[in-house]
Subunit: 474 residues, 4 copies
């Protein structure tokens, strides 16, 4: 991407890197996969791909862009067969090209396989160097290809045996979806960082990163895939394997805070309901005398509703979001101030003027957007602007599959809350506490990864990895 | 559009047909026009166009698609000059092609002109036949071309004289934006059906269908253009003309109900605030014992907030909208039920289950979508579903610039409210009364067109037009 | 076209501006029109268009590019009906955009009409001004639109009457093809500048600029349309009209020299045979002692064969042409010499080295390409390079439908033959004489326009036109 | 490719599968590679690709289509660096997709490498199975990927050592071009099936499949790369290695007969001059009393000129070729006879009528096109049609890098010459003898592969390979 075409980065959020969907035994499998990806589009807007098989030939179609743009009727026709897996992907600019789009399809001594991955491996570089030293040829920079090579080299036994042996060498976060001519397999890593749900649609089995994809096609939600579980779907039915040594759960709490769609049910709880609970707790931790609670749409809506409810304050819509925003935005060269978030959000003066306003958002990454929002709300006449955040200060990058800036870009890593408040220009600023957040999820607080808030990276990172970590961070 | 590629019509709403934006005296006029159209995208998503001039040459670029997709940096570079006007358009499938995209540029004996139009002429066919009989050559099916021909044939005097003479022959709704090498002109028809606002951006004058476009670029909102007013902007400044016989105002009340963006200020009132007032009145007219108020997002949000506030009921988000919906959606041929609104909306079971739910929407057109929503909410476990609509039953098509179905497709035209309730499957159904709606706008109730609710077409429709009306309706 | 994207102009030739094709009464009319345009592609490579009708609705599809690229199977499906006309177009860079692509479709008081034009009107600007003064609205810069307006304004009588009346006001070169719901009409102007042939394909009538298009579909060539003739094809058959005052024939001799495909039969003679006759005459007028005759491929092949035959010299292929040349060519910025004609032609050293070579080409326009060819042939080892041109020096621009440079760019206009020879670096240079050329055509020498050689513009150009001529020339 | 979009196969020729070009040490390396591929386009029109490096990062761009369409200025800008290699490819429909386009870029333990290949491996499947059994992951169906894996697994020593060791396992035809951050390498297999030439362009080294690519950029032709030679270009200059056991030369005689451009110098002889010599010999072997010699353009031109010269008969252009033919051609469904070669060639009646015509072509594959040509020439009035072919009957498929039909499709494999003559409908048919052809090349007759004429596959094909051969053939 040349500087002059540089994408205008319209938000200041963490970004999930992938959504996965698979279907087994459906007459229009690739079309069902398309539907599933459609509902998972919020998990990745950069590329979309589907691999399908009729039990013999494999076909794959992938391209940069939204699901609705990538797949035409003609393209879906080029994906015949009763089995299909699909993938949507977000990625950082550097590796943003078709070569890294998924599913990856390849041939090994065990036959053809398609693989799609949500997560990030900690020791990918080390494994890659080891595999290359042993003659492996890598055709992308994706860590998913590392898994493919490990699998190809795993000897003996069943596919599950080989997969377990391959994954035993891997550290990090991975939810995988694989397709072979005779089976569809999913795996969640033993820590269970990323979600995966199983559904049933008449005679078909479906797998999806979030239940909202199952809802779209009116599939019945059967259950979550468990951490460390390998599920194999084939024509004889469904089998579950647990070949890994049990480990403590490290489910990504940010899935509740921001990534997942509010209508999904994740780890036993509805995401919107959890977000409202985060708002309740936030109101209890950081009460404020005010006239009005407004969300930063759309991600702050759940917490704002909860905050307003708990605080007994009116909830209103004080910022209007333009949903026709494309990937790029062309700013004038001169004469008009820098646009930033204005392209996406516009304050509603009549709602805000003269009021003491509580603005609720889910998180603050760099702080640049929040600062503009505060300024915007104040410029629209708000008498006071109180910022409330439904998660703790983000202080650390994520190495488990989320696209995050480096430490020094994280405002929470280098500044104390009062400094951040000052930078934002808010009259007050309250972050939800770690304990408050974890408790509000309704899950066991011990079952979450919260490394981005605490730096407690519980997976990976022995000496070699630390060097790598530094590398990443620079 | 062939049947198999048939666009999946994802909503059941009236559709505004156009948004207009113009800028005079800006070093990057076409880029500013692009920004303005960006903010007006909700008024038309089918085609976008900009015409620009440096005072001599005219350039125009237009294409099917969203503003963000149509205009690349390269394309904007092909639109040099300090003056530009732009247009976004929605239209019915039949005439949906590039030939009807605007602005239309043409050469007449008075020099080059670009014209963009929001509205619809009642007597376009009659005028067209008359002009053709007199040798005129029409290259599109757009009624805007009729205005162009009338203007080209108007003799003598200033451009304003000629424009007034041309428009004196025209009946119907029109807000126009014209660009010549030496001036930018806007007109609102004497009834003032469609809006237009004037703004100032440093040394530039800007004109926009809605104030949200002025907000985006931080232009100062100066005032509304008045019904029957012609405003000419040129290098000597701004001049206002009122050449038409004054008529009663017939401002489109549906701009408040649904079309305009909630953050726009229209005819003196903020749209979101009006929508909340509609909700207040709706709650007063149709109270109900319930646990929860939810909107049909996004259009029902304002009225739902107002309803909940007035009724003292909790407001929540019970339907989640997928914002990554494209223009087309490919359904499977078999095996899965018809999708309809499910592609866009998904109910949140945990919010709805066991509750008595009030669902608030702005209007019901055919009823098909509302029926699916009721079913969906009930399937998600709602104990009771009470539908509340923040406008009266739609009984008549619009002939003033809104894309509406024929009478027989309007459920409000052929059925009484109890029948509609039964069709929707709702436990109760309440429409806002006409008087209630008009009063809640905060404007003089006499100043609105409400023909779609009442059939009172106050402009046009003498004998000849009635024949035409029938033609339209069949 | 910005300078950096500037098309690399790969040849130094006159360019024909259009090819026309029409078919009446064929079940796959638009597909037949596609075939016809395919065979006429050499007459215009910039845009292609087809208009078709089923007797009621009109459909038109046009786009920039080659016929094979513009028309997909899907696009042809959007052109139903038993009647179709098509057009290929070359044009100068300035007006090179889709707005000027043809056929133009419009609606007039006499109903819909599609029009396609090969030629150029001398008094287009004057007529345009007159029509605009009378209220006409022009939407392109094409002179074809002038004809459309004249036709729309012609009153009374049959379509032929109106067409004759419209065309009586026009001066210049025009072969037209029109399509209405009930007829297909062709006209050649009274001077007959541009060709048009009639063919029969089973029960269908076909019309084509050149017979090679009839050959492709194995249609029977019936006859040429005559100068000043209007032919109407409808369901009752074929009618011929001659409403214009007879005038002397002014057939474009350059069609023989360069434009037409060698396999076409034009004005009674096969083009390739005429080109060989030009070569014979050229050898008689400018004999030379040499070892070898080579053509500049492909346009010089016919004359070179004739020259070699008459001179009793061996003919060989000394320059190889790359047929994969696209419209654009990206030169390196530095380090390699300017490419020019090298991209298209490469000399064959072993054929040329040590030989005295006669290089035969059809014409010299600016001289830049010929100069490079002489240099290239010499660099490949030719001992002598004798340039022979099968037409006289071009001294004047064409105003009858050919894209030509201005006078001052024409090397033949400002320089004598010895100076040109010196500029080219050739050992000798011989142009065919005017009389020799005309005689060799086998037609009556009085029946040709040769204004580009002689400046004898026999049509148009009274005082007003002269002013215009100057304008064109500057 | 679905049946209804099936490409209309417009010729009946063998197809070369690739062209290679590389440049080392040029400020605009990727632009120079683009130029080189431009001149080699006749060797492959399906996909084009360039990989470039600045000594560290690798960039690659490849796409389906012609060089001129694939590479825009912007795309070339995405290929920075002083070193580049490029590839054009033709392939059979089955594997015709982007995944098989070249150069292939990958990472191995020895660092990144880009590889481009002209040829075909006999034992690719066997090697592939062996590599997969050892854990290799294949991401395409290309045999080039086999070489990449062998290279990645070759241990120890220099890159040349590893390359030699890798290639020692390979049987078949390969000319390779590799790029690493620090070197550009080319290899011709020990038999030297496919050509490769070395050139010098100021301070840059260039490598090209044919010398016509060197001519275009006015590079000096240095020499051919020799069979079995590995040439390494790096910043210290050029080094040659001959690690393979010397073998007899098996240069593809078809390069002279048809593939190479006539202006290339191949294995010491100019291709056009060789083709004329083939024509001379053909005239001696198969004299005929006739009026005229015509070529099947463009491939038959050289031989036809030679035949006419030797026979003392006039040469003329009796078939006109349409050079605007695209990849696809849309035939009408009915009402017009099947088009076939008519789309490309049209006879010139006035040249042919009443004459005894010798038609010279380079080869006959299936015979379908030749049959149509004979019919076409006769329908244009030829009194006699004598077919002369400048190579022997093709009886065997090629396994060394040429796309050929299966044996049973080859008319020369199943029919004797008199039968073929009858099938073609020719008055006589003469094929050049094997000895005549080999002698006419001016090279040692023992140095050629002529397996397609004789079935003498001198490389590969022990027992295992024979099984594979059958597989290929079915």
């Amino acid at each position: 991407m040349s500087p002059e075409d540089e994408e205008f980065r319209l938000d200041d959020k963490f970004h999930d890197e992938c959504g996965l969907f698979g279907v087994w035994n459906h007459a229009e499998a690739s079309n069902v996969a398309y539907l599933g990806l459609y509902a998972l589009q919020h998990r990745g807007q950069e590329s979309a791909g589907i691999a399908a098989t009729d039990g013999h030939a494999f076909h794959v179609e992938k391209a940069m862009g939204w699901v609705a743009d990538v797949f035409s009727r003609d393209r879906l026709k080029r994906l015949p067969g009763h089995r299909a897996i699909g993938h949507v992907r977000y990625s950082t600019a550097g590796s943003s090209n078709l070569r890294n789009a998924q599913p990856i399809t390849a041939n090994t001594s065990h036959g053809p396989v398609a693989i799609a991955h949500n997560g990030n491996l900690i020791n990918a570089e080390e494994l890659r160097r080891r595999l290359e030293a042993d003659g492996a040829v890598f055709q992308s920079s994706s860590d998913t290809e590392v898994i493919l090579h490990l699998l190809a080299r795993a000897d003996g036994g069943t596919l599950v045996d080989r997969l377990a042996r391959a994954l035993s060498q891997v550290k990090g976060a991975y939810t995988l979806l694989l397709l072979t001519p005779t089976s569809m397999i999913t795996v969640r890593d033993p820590s269970g960082f990323r979600p995966m749900s199983l559904g049933k649609l008449a005679d078909s089995w479906v797998l999806a990163s979030e239940t909202c994809a199952l809802d779209l096609m009116e599939a019945q939600v059967v259950r979550d895939i468990e951490p460390g579980e390998i599920v194999v779907v084939d024509d004889s039915g469904l089998q579950s394997f647990k070949p890994f040594r049990p480990q403590e759960k490290l489910q990504c709490v940010f899935e509740y805070v921001y990534f997942s769609r509010p209508d999904s049910v994740l780890w036993g709880r509805n995401v919107h309901v959890v977000r409202k609970a985060l708002g309740h707790q936030l109101a209890r931790e950081h009460p404020v005398v005010a006239d009005l609670v407004i969300p930063v749409p759309d991600s702050g809506v759940g917490a704002a509703l909860g905050f307003a409810e708990e605080a007994g304050l009116p909830y209103d819509s004080g910022l209007v979001r333009n949903h026709y925003v494309g990937r790029t935005f062309i700013e004038p060269k001169q004469g008009i101030r820098h646009f930033g978030v204005k392209v996406k959000l516009n304050p509603n003066r009549e709602v805000l003027a003269g009021r003491r306003v509580v603005v609720v958002d889910d998180s603050i990454v760099r702080g640049t957007t929040s600062r503009k929002i505060v300024k915007m709300v104040r410029a629209a006449g708000a008498r006071e602007v109180h910022m409330r955040i439904s998660s703790p200060p983000i202080q650390w990058p994520c190495y488990y599959g989320i696209d995050t800036p480096t430490r020094k870009e994280l405002i929470g890593s280098s500044h104390e809350v009062p400094e951040i408040q000052k930078y934002l220009g808010a009259d007050s600023l309250g972050y939800l506490s770690l304990d408050g957040m974890l408790k509000a999820t309704g899950n066991d607080p011990a079952h979450f990864c919260h490394a981005c808030f605490t730096g407690q990276y519980k997976v990976g990172f022995d000496d070699g990895d630390l060097a790598q970590l530094k590398l990443f961070d620079s």
